[in-house]
């Protein structure tokens, strides 16, 4: 069997159809960062340990470094760049600003994407539920207390938590 070296694929990225030719070993993170210019998802470890690259694949949070781009072809992908509407921050983003759920900011897009998918499912979470949901993301500045505050406040604040 011959392995196909190049794939012509498309993704629906932040609501827009994006077509490109990819190689089968490219990860979704590489495609987003290096080929689609979406650098909001960060490469913190490239081995499923830190969560800085979290994006939504069909509304489910995934580590983009662990998804081969070919697996995601034809699917809907939401990145941190796709959360704003008409230049207005998404309620979760606004909540991270208001509650200082940020220090250096490198892990922030990953935390916000994970929180986004979580709040979609859990309308009024307890602090422990927030902790469990975000336990796959690392913040080395350890702004964890403020991150929990931000997510809890967002759950109280907005109807629109869907990406």
């Amino acid at each position: 069997m011959k392995i196909k070296k190049r794939w012509d694929v498309f993704f629906i990225v932040n609501g827009k159809r994006r077509s490109l030719t990819i190689e089968p070993h490219w990860t979704l993170l590489e495609v987003l960062r290096d080929h689609l210019g979406l650098t909001g998802a960060k490469k913190g470890c490239d081995r499923a340990e830190c969560g800085s690259c979290t994006v939504l694949l069909e509304r489910e949070p995934v580590y983009a470094c662990q998804v081969l781009a070919v697996q995601a072809r034809g699917q809907r992908i939401t990145t941190i760049e796709g959360l704003e509407r008409n230049g207005k921050l998404h309620p979760i983003q606004q909540s991270f600003v208001d509650h200082d759920g940020v220090q250096c900011g490198f892990c922030t897009p990953g935390f916000i994407m994970t929180a986004n998918a979580f709040l979609e499912r859990t309308r009024r979470p307890s602090p422990d539920q927030v902790k469990q949901a975000l336990s796959g993301n690392i913040c080395r500045c350890s702004a964890y207390a403020k991150i929990i505050e931000s997510v809890l406040a967002a759950s109280r604040r907005g109807k629109r938590t869907r990406a």
């Binding site: 960060k42 490469k43 913190g44 921050l89 208001d98 900011g105 690392i138 500045c141 964890y144 207390a145």
Partner: protein, 751 residues
């Protein structure tokens, strides 16, 4: 503005992913770099054959030690691509290619022949006079330091009890979320480099100039954003390698570390061995404290001198005694390079001190809190005469007695922290709680000489539209420094912060500034910004007076406008006032040397922890934590709280879970990843209360003192002391992992 929780600058850019870190930047024609690292802990490179790598399609350049002019062999941390490699992970060669995966594949085609040399991993072995030298001058990294006040010998002679103990700490990685990255571009002989940095002016620029053999004026360093560094990103070798590759290719090159490289070739906290000896008199006074620390430096120097010095601060200064001595020795080993990491050596030194003092309190049948209340250093400073020769002292870091603190609210930290955790009510004698889940309370103090940079510059310019720009050469490393500096600038000018912006982290557009280290930014840079802003404000007032034909007594600030009472009542808006200045007058640049010869300037803290130890599994759960801090007046309370919470949680990893392990046969790092160098995650967050005494310091800008590093100092000893209180077993070696706890519980049972 000072004292208000202004929203963190750049927060919107961070939550939208718009903020670009070095690894997010791209330039046209940019190539990707990769580094070949040594598989041996100590070896001489006999030969390198790069022909197969260079022949690969897509490979543009390979650099090896052959590319380094022999006359550019620099000292230790600045030199790159030496013919000798000194740890597993040391740089051997580097490749630039059109794609990162091609560069990586090319590394495997470089053939290197090594002559293996003896490797040393234990500092006690490496410091022996006949040990195989890792560097030409031997294995002592710099002259051991000796700092003394009074005479510890005389102090011990007066004592009734002498307490001795040995304490060790591990290799601990800063592990910022952003693996370090650099992007280099040459235009003729001039280099522009974007990189993760905590000191574009004082660290990277001179180091790159030396490493590349060009004048500093031809080097522009920009740090676009820092994805966490905690002090560890003061390393320039990767920047030099990136620039060398770019020069050889004639194209821009970006070099990014992998997570594993960040662990191995980044900079970690120095492991330490501290021996303490403390004398107590018949009346219970501390007659002498003698601390001796040996630290493994790893293969290269990095910030070792500052780290070893800082390690002694606690022993010399935290407890009142006329006799104190600290001896610190740094030793090269064939381990990954240790460098600066949050509070330098202070957490190591004060872990030893605060566990030791807890033991002494118990031996004297005193509650640990009461012992500290009686003996901590008071606002008037230390008694006793300095013995250390003046030439060996750092002028702004006194050892001698007789100099008071600018402010010292340690007693309030103790009082407020103890109250918040319920110490009086809940502290019990060790190992007295029933069942297999045992609770215990512990505490520790901390002191840090923070805030004093050597030289700090700032520029404040008001534009004709009334907007103000502050330019500083420091970097916001993620802690929020630009937000606090902007608040200080707005306060000094008397205008709304919305009119003010701040620019930093670029050698071309900002005045010389110190490295972001030693918790110096708010104090030193804040003083510079305050002075520049105040000078500008005075100029504006003078101009308005001259223009209106009135005197300074008749003008006052009123909500960002100038109110004139004589000869006629009139209000001059900020914009009108600014229009009176010439372009030169609109810009003020100052350079200051912060500090004081009259006072010792220190920040203080007292931390209290309650833990639960599961005696069946060895697991430690932090049930409650209180951090009380004297950092002067707090400029931005929410950001400050975030900073303290973050410092505490980060150091719970140092206390309980994190250690970078090396195989002592091969020198190979065993756990350069987040799964096995276990940093705290969100589920590890304990209920955490932060308390600020919030009393203004007379020396600091608007009363502020250092804050960034102090929260990291008392954490490990507070946890160790709490574990002792829970199960009656002392832990003097970090980290306190479940296996160590279970081993000691078994011994306890047997006895």
């Amino acid at each position: 503005m000072v004292g208000k929780s202004l929203t963190r600058l750049g927060a919107a850019e961070k939550v939208t992913g718009r903020l670009q870190y070095t690894g997010d930047l791209k330039l046209p024609g940019m190539l990707h770099g990769k580094i070949l690292r040594s598989p041996h802990p100590h070896a001489r490179i006999v030969s390198i054959d790069t022909s197969a790598a260079e022949a690969m399609p897509g490979v543009v350049a390979v650099i090896t030690p052959k590319d380094i002019p022999p006359n550019r062999r620099l000292q230790s941390d600045l030199a790159v691509l030496d013919w000798t490699v000194r740890f597993v992970g040391d740089e051997v060669a580097a490749v630039a290619a059109v794609r990162e995966d091609i560069a990586e594949a090319a590394l495997e085609r470089i053939r290197v022949e090594y002559e293996i040399l003896p490797a040393l991993f234990d500092p006690l072995e490496a410091m022996k006079p006949d040990a195989f030298p890792i560097h030409p001058g031997g294995n002592l990294a710099g002259k051991p330091i000796v700092l003394e006040r009074g005479s510890v010998e005389a102090g011990f002679a007066q004592s009734q009890h002498i307490f001795e103990g040995t304490y060790t700490t591990q290799v601990h990685c800063a592990a910022g979320m952003e693996p370090r990255a650099a992007l280099a571009r040459w235009e003729g002989d001039s280099l522009t480099i974007w990189k993760s940095s905590r000191g574009v002016h004082m660290v990277d620029r001179p180091a790159l100039a030396q490493g590349l053999g060009i004048p500093a004026e031809q080097v522009r360093v920009i740090c676009p954003a820092m994805g966490g560094g905690f002090g560890s990103k003061d390393e320039t070798r990767m920047g030099t390698l990136c620039a060398l590759l770019a020069r050889k290719c004639g194209k821009p090159v970006r070099l990014e570390y992998t997570r594993e490289e960040e662990f191995i070739a980044g900079r970690s906290r120095h492991p330490s061995i501290t021996h303490l000896k403390v004398g107590i008199s018949r009346s219970g006074e501390i007659t002498a404290i003698h601390a001796r620390t040996i630290m493994s430096k790893g293969a290269y120097m990095s910030s070792g001198n500052a780290v070893i010095r800082r390690c002694g601060q606690g022993s010399l200064y935290l407890y009142r005694t006329p006799n104190a001595k600290y001896e610190g020795t740094l030793v090269y080993t064939n381990l990954p390079v240790a460098g600066s990491y949050r509070a330098l050596g202070a957490p190591q030194g004060q872990f030893a001190l605060e566990v030791h003092m807890d033991k002494i309190a118990e031996a004297l049948s005193l509650d640990p809190l009461e012992f500290r209340r009686r003996h901590h250093v008071q606002p008037e400073g230390q008694p006793g005469e300095r013995q250390t020769p003046p030439g060996e002292l750092v002028s702004d870091q006194p050892v001698e007695g007789g100099i008071p603190f600018s402010s010292n609210r340690l007693s309030e930290c103790l009082r407020l922290g103890a109250k918040a955790i319920g110490w009086q009510r809940r502290w019990h004698s060790p190992n007295s709680s029933p069942g297999h889940q045992k609770r215990g309370l512990g505490m520790a103090m901390g002191l840090y000489r923070g805030g004093l940079a050597h030289k700090a510059g700032a520029e404040v310019e008001v534009h004709p539209d009334g907007s103000v720009e502050i330019r500083v050469g420091t970097i916001d490393v993620g802690e929020g420094a630009f937000t606090t500096l902007l608040q200080i600038g707005a306060e000094a000018l008397g205008i709304e912060p919305s009119r003010v912006s701040i620019l930093g982290g670029d050698t071309a557009t900002t005045p010389e500034a110190p490295v972001t280290s030693g918790s110096s930014t708010t104090f030193s840079m804040g003083t510079a910004v305050k002075e520049a802003a105040t000078t500008l404000r005075e100029k504006i007032l003078d101009r308005v007076c001259a223009h209106m034909g009135t005197s300074r007594e008749s003008v006052s600030w009123n909500k960002g406008a100038i109110q004139i009472t004589r000869p006629t009542k009139k209000k001059v808006s900020w914009k009108e006032a600014v229009a009176l200045l010439s372009p030169e007058e609109r810009r003020v640049r100052v350079e200051i040397r912060p500090g004081s010869t009259e006072f010792v300037i220190n920040s203080f803290a007292a931390h209290f922890a309650e833990v639960e130890v599961d005696t069946e599994t060895g697991k430690v759960t932090v049930v409650k934590y209180v951090a009380a801090h004297d950092s002067g007046r707090i400029v931005n309370p929410v950001a400050a709280q975030n900073q303290v919470e973050g410092g505490v949680i980060q150091m719970l990893g140092f206390a309980l879970t994190e250690e970078l392990l090396t195989d002592l046969k091969t020198g190979v790092t065993l756990n350069g990843n987040f799964l096995e160098h276990k940093v705290p995650v969100i589920v590890d967050l304990p209920p955490l209360k932060t308390i600020f005494v919030n009393a203004p310091d007379p020396a600091g800008p608007f009363g502020a003192k250092a804050l960034g590093e102090p929260p990291s100092i008392p954490v490990a000893p507070a946890i160790s002391n709490a574990i002792y209180n829970a199960i009656g077993i002392r832990f003097q070696d970090l980290p306190i992992t479940p296996d160590k706890i279970l081993d000691k519980l078994r011994l306890q049972e047997r006895d």
